[in-house]
Symmetry: C2
Subunit: 347 residues, 2 copies
């Protein structure tokens, strides 16, 4: 027999495992990893496979970054702020209260040095992260009773993602950490008074409108959260160059795709929720101002004690000022006109 | 010598040529094709090359779709509305007055059937199109004198892209078709009274602020225009499957990347323009209402006479109503709060 001919194998066969923080039932956010995996597999002619596992299948949803760090899996799909308890810097690549909106985060990540800055931090944990989805500005969540003043927040037990809870604590709210599947019964029994998740499409599936009729906006703690693909830095660097590039391209495409999917699905779900009795409420200006003040106090403390946090948050803040100044010209005035015509029944 | 071994070549060597409608000097919009080309080349290990030619290098900027249709090149990077004179349906995949904004267009293209509907139309011209960039809501352009009323538009000579000109004609404006490089001298000499292009980053390079100080917003004719990659349908279908998939993935990534780049560059450019004396002005509510009414008249005429236009515009309109209803909850209120804080100097 002949020896194998000396032809470089352009697309070597590689299989990776990716652990998701999300359940399969949430097809938009869980689906982002499947979208990316499919893109990679098809563009490599079936040779680079990334197997996606839902939360709990091989790793609990909130331990997926650790699973990459300890070598259990090569990649995960998660939100950086889940790990803010290790260090608040984790949250900055994802979302913190009163940060950028989705387009602002995307501009900062891809062309404002965000990907590089966040990876200076992630690299020390043995990770390499790329944006892998966005939900757009989230809703502020479901409340069993109306809340109008800061006083109404005092003692309120609310299921809310980590970092934002720290800000809310300053206002007397009692944040609760509850895994996705346990939220509904807790809300139904009154063990908690309120919960937030994402927006109409996901929230309708989770059924919160049946037990907490007041649906508040905006979710000031998630103006445009970035979901991330986090890869083992070592395994990423040992891939053939073309696969590394393919991961970048597929991640950027899947990142965009998640927001596109939410944006198509949320408007219809909102109509269904309202038809089912959901009461829409805006947070009062008093509450918004108090939360903004509390958030800034938290940031000042963290900046004083954490140089890495201060560096990345400084970069976001610099752009944030310019972004929200520019956005109020063409974008805001176009949208404002169109929204007004929608409300007049002219669209 | 041995014959070549019978090993399937996973990544065959292919070289395509792509004609851009844009000059190299506009690095965001011209750059979109280079971004896509680089993604494809790198992910195929250098085997699938797409050579990008700027407007005029091998094909004039406004004839690139024809060049794909007649087989001169395999692909182009352009904006569908450049060809609305052939049939107004061309414009619908890109932008028409008072249509969706950038996020709305993206949702519609990728998850609302937009890509498929537009390709039903493009396929008849032998093309296959994929979104390949977006500028975000554009500015309304540069005017030598202030305009406050609809009366002020009468007789005004303005360089403006095709379809919008048809709407403006109804209000007495005289639209002018002028190629990019000739706009500045025409504006300087007073041959035209006004011009529009994109937004601060591009417009600053083109220097319009030096000869027309009033910079209006919003560009109601381009709330979120989609730039397209258009491929020869036949050549696309004859590619190996993995290259077809790679073109889809790279196009979606490059599509997102262009908006991300504009969003990072526009805010800084706006500050420079204002420092150089640019006067920002909003179109008056009277003008906006008159333009909206004129646009709706144009649409009614086209829908009555063009079934293909009516079908696609109907699909956009259905979603437009729901989109601008949903957007005014979390997204609008979040942005409004942040813009207010920006204006108070609190960011």
């Amino acid at each position: 027999t002949l020896a194998a001919p000396a032809i470089a194998q352009s697309n070597p066969q590689i299989t990776w495992r990716l652990a998701s923080s999300f359940p399969k039932s949430l097809d938009t956010i869980y689906g982002g990893a499947e979208v990316m995996s499919k893109m990679v597999e098809e563009a490599s002619d079936g040779n680079f496979k990334i197997q996606v596992f839902a939360a709990g299948e091989i790793v609990p949803g909130l331990q997926v970054a650790d699973a990459v760090m300890n070598g259990t899996v090569e990649a995960c799909h998660t939100v950086g702020y889940y790990f803010w308890g290790k260090d608040p810097t984790w949250a900055l690549g994802a979302a913190v209260p009163f940060s950028l909106n989705a387009r602002g985060m995307n501009a900062w990540h891809y062309h404002g040095g965000g990907i590089e800055l966040y990876n200076e931090f992630l690299g020390k944990q043995g990770l390499y992260g790329l944006p892998g989805g966005n939900t757009g500005a989230q809703m502020g969540g479901w409340f069993r009773k109306e809340i109008s003043t800061v006083e109404d927040l005092k003692g309120l037990k609310m299921r809310v993602g980590g970092f934002a809870g720290k800000v809310m604590e300053k206002l007397g709210l009692v944040p609760q950490q509850i895994a996705g599947g346990d939220i509904y019964p807790a809300l139904e029994k009154g063990t908690i008074d309120a919960t937030e998740w994402v927006g109409p499409y996901d929230d309708e599936k989770l059924g919160f409108y049946k037990v907490a009729p007041y649906y508040y906006y905006p979710g000031w703690w998630e103006g445009g959260p970035t979901v991330h693909f986090m890869f083992s830095k070592e395994k990423m660097e040992s891939l053939p160059k073309q696969y590394q590039q393919l991961l970048h391209t597929a991640s950027q495409a899947a990142d965009a795709d998640m927001l596109q999917k939410y944006d198509m699905k949320n408007p219809k779900a909102l109509k269904t929720l309202v038809a089912n009795g959901t009461q829409l409420r805006a947070f009062s200006p008093e509450i918004m101002q108090a939360c903004f003040k509390a958030a800034n106090e938290v940031y000042s403390e963290m900046e004083a004690n954490n140089a890495e946090f201060a560096k990345i948050w400084g970069s976001i803040k610099d752009f944030r000022k310019d972004w929200f100044t520019w956005e109020q010209l063409a974008e805001f005035n176009y949208d404002y006109f169109m929204m007004s015509e929608a409300n007049k029944g002219e669209l």
